[in-house]
Symmetry: C2
Subunit: 367 residues, 2 copies
C-alpha cells in the first residue's frame, strides 16, 4: 500500500506535526457592497437565463430529501446532446475546479513532470502539490503567447487553458492539433473556462484524440458562478478514470438543484449568445479606450483583459482603485504578471466608471 503523502514523518509525536502543510490557491476577493464595481473574478455582469429563474420557481423542496442521481444522467444527457457527443464522453462536477482537480488525480500518475505555462491559472501548481504530482512551468513567449517548443519532450501530461488566463490570448484548433500530434503518450487537458467570448473551441478534437480532455464551466459565460457546475469531455477511458476518482471521493458531487438549474441554463443558448456578444462589444470598446490612455492591452478572447502601462505601477493603481470601491485583480507573482492588471469586462457603465477613475489617477500623476 502506498504511504507517501505531502508530509511524512511517522516518528512525530504530536497530531499537530502531522497536519498537512500546503500553500493553497488564493481566489479573488468576494467582497460585497452595493457601491462596489467588482471586476476581479471574471464573473458575468448579466444574470443567468430567465429559464434558470423558472427552474427555481418550479423546484420542489421535497426532491432534496433524496440523494441526487450520483451520475447526473439527465444533465449529462442534455450536455452530450448539445455538444453532439456520446454520454460516456461527458463528466460533470462541482465547478470546473473540482473537475480539473479530479482530472489531475485521474490522469497524471506517470511520475514524470506535468507541463503548463509559467503564466496561467495559478491553481494548476496547487493541484500538483495537493496530489504529489511533479510539474514544470514552461515560459510563455515574449509576446505572452504559448509556444509549442517547450512541450515537445517527455512529460506526465500537459495543461493549457484556451484562452489562457490571465493573458486572455487564445490559440486555434490548428495549434492544438499540432500539439496533440506531437504528444501522444500523456493526457492533454485544455481548460476552456473562458470559452464563449470569441475563442475557437477544440471540443471536436476529443473525437480524434483519445488523450485530449476539455474542461468547461458555467461560472463565466454561463452567469452561474454561484451554482458550481463544471463539465469535462474526453474519450470513454478518461471519463471512466474521472468517475473512479469522483466515486472514491464523494458519490454525489452535484446536488439536485444544481442539476436542475444547470440543465435549464444549457437549454437557452440564444440568451447566452446575446450576453456574450454584449461582453465582447464592451471588451473591444474598453480595449480601445485603454490603449488611448497609453495602456498596452493584450488581444483578449476572454471576458477580461490583461493590461499594463509603462508609467504606472500596477499594484499602486490596484490599491488606489480598491480604495474607490473598484476591484480589479493584481497578481504579486510571477514577476511577468506583477506589472499588469487583469480586468474583468463588466457592464458598459462599470467600464466607464473604471475608465473615469483611471483617468483621474493619471491626471493626479500628471501622466
Amino acid at each position: 500500500m502506498p504511504t507517501e503523502n505531502i508530509k511524512r514523518n511517522g516518528a512525530s509525536r504530536s497530531w499537530r506535526d502531522n497536519l498537512i502543510d500546503i500553500e493553497p490557491y488564493v481566489a479573488g476577493e468576494q467582497k460585497r457592497s452595493p457601491r462596489l464595481v467588482k471586476l476581479n473574478t471574471n464573473e458575468s455582469p448579466f444574470p443567468p437565463s430567465p429559464l434558470v429563474s423558472k427552474a427555481i420557481e418550479g423546484f420542489d423542496a421535497e426532491i432534496l430529501a433524496r440523494y441526487p442521481d450520483p451520475n447526473a444522467k439527465g444533465l449529462v444527457r442534455t450536455i452530450a446532446g448539445r455538444e453532439g457527443l456520446p454520454e460516456e464522453m461527458v463528466f460533470v462536477g462541482n465547478g470546473s475546479d473540482e473537475v480539473i482537480a479530479f482530472a489531475f488525480k485521474a490522469f497524471f500518475n506517470s511520475g514524470l513532470p506535468v507541463l503548463f505555462p509559467d503564466l496561467t491559472y495559478s491553481f494548476y501548481p496547487v493541484w500538483c502539490r495537493l496530489h504529489g504530482i511533479p510539474y514544470e512551468q514552461v515560459p510563455l513567449n515574449s509576446d505572452f503567447r504559448i509556444g509549442q517548443e517547450g512541450y515537445a519532450r517527455g512529460n506526465g501530461g500537459i495543461v493549457i487553458p484556451n484562452p489562457n488566463a490571465p493573458t486572455g490570448i487564445a490559440e486555434g484548433a490548428e495549434f492544438f492539433g499540432r500539439l496533440l500530434r506531437a504528444n501522444t503518450d500523456s493526457v492533454v487537458i485544455v481548460d476552456e473556462a473562458y470559452y464563449g467570448f470569441g475563442a475557437e473551441t477544440i471540443l471536436p478534437l476529443t473525437r480524434k484524440y483519445d488523450n485530449l480532455f476539455v474542461a468547461r464551466t458555467l461560472s463565466k459565460a454561463g452567469s452561474l458562478a454561484g451554482l458550481r457546475l463544471g463539465m469535462g469531455f474526453g474519450s470513454p477511458p478518461l471519463i471512466a478514470a474521472l468517475n473512479a476518482v469522483k466515486d472514491s471521493f464523494n458519490s454525489y458531487t452535484v446536488g439536485s438543484f444544481t442539476q436542475c438549474a444547470g440543465a435549464a441554463a444549457l437549454s437557452d443558448q440564444a440568451y447566452y449568445d446575446d450576453a456574450a456578444a454584449k461582453i465582447i462589444g464592451t471588451r473591444e470598446r474598453f480595449t480601445a479606450a485603454m490603449r488611448g490612455l497609453g495602456f498596452s492591452v493584450l488581444d483578449s478572447s476572454a471576458n477580461f483583459v490583461f493590461v499594463t502601462h509603462p508609467q504606472l505601477g500596477a499594484m499602486e493603481l490596484y490599491e488606489w482603485l480598491k480604495a474607490r470601491d473598484i476591484l480589479v485583480r493584481w497578481f504579486a507573482s510571477p514577476a511577468k504578471a506583477s506589472s499588469h492588471l487583469r480586468i474583468t469586462i463588466g457592464l458598459d457603465s462599470e467600464m466607464d466608471a473604471l475608465l473615469a477613475a483611471i483617468e483621474e489617477y493619471m491626471q493626479g500623476k500628471e501622466i
Copy 2:
C-alpha cells in the same frame, strides 16, 4: 517534491497506463419509480422544513451570477451560533463525504496506519487508498460493538462513526472521553452522520480535546440529501488545515443556493425534532415487529436497523424484495455483514409494506 502516487510507472509509454487504478466506493442504488419503497440509502421519508421551501421561493437567480462566499461565512455563523462554538471551529463542505475526504488528507499524514472498525462506513478505506494513507481495520466485538482495546496503540488517526453504520449502535460520551484520554497523539474523527435519532452527541468534547474532529450532515435527519451540505467541528488548527486542503482543491465547494437553503433548515430545529421523533417511533415499532418474526435486530440509535434471521439468506431476501419494488441494502462484504440487511426507517406505511412482504416471503418458505 513528492512524486509518489496511487500508480507510478514513469517508464510506461501510453497515457492509458497512467490512468488511476482504484476501486471506488459503491453507493446504494438511486433507483426512481413512483411504486418504489426506497429503504436503502438512509434518507429521511419526510420533506425538509417548510423554511427551505420559503428560502427557495425567495431565492433570486441573479445571485448565482457571482461566486459564492468561499468561506460560507453566513452559514458558518449560523451553525456556530446554534452549537455554541466559535466560528473558527466550524467547517462546511459539499456533503459530509467531502468534509471527511478533506479531513483524511488534512489530518492523516504521519505514515502510521489509521484505525477504524472492520464493519463500518465502507468509504473510509476508499479515502485512505485515494490519499495513499495506510489503514488497519479493528474487529468489532462479538456483540457488534466497538471496543476500546483495538485502538490502544500507535496509529495515524482513528475514525469512528457514532452511531456506527451499518450496525446503528451508538456509544456514549464516556466511551469517547476514555478513547480520547488514551489517544492524544493523533486526530480522532467521530462521524455523526446519523446524529439526531437518539445517540448522544460528543460535539461538546471538541472544546476539551483539540485532536477531536466531529463530522455531521444534513443528508439524514436534515432531509436534505439532495442539497449536499456537510459540516465539521474541531479545534482551530484542525479547521485551518481543512481549509488549506479545501483551498488547494476547490475554492468554492458550497454554492450560494446550498448556503441559503442550509441556513434555512438549520433555523428550524423544532420541525426536525418532530420528524426525528416520528422516525424513532417507527423504528421501535418496526424493530419489535421484526423480532416478532424471529429476526435478530441490533439496538439502533440511527434511522436504520441491521437485521438477520437464522433461517433466511440475506441476499436472497434482498433480491426477492427488490423484484417487488422494495429496496433495502445488502452488503456482499465483509463476511460478518453479508448475513444481514440494513433497512432504512421510512414512513409507517412503508415499513408496513415491507413487513407484509417479508411475512409473505417467510410463508412461501414455510418458516
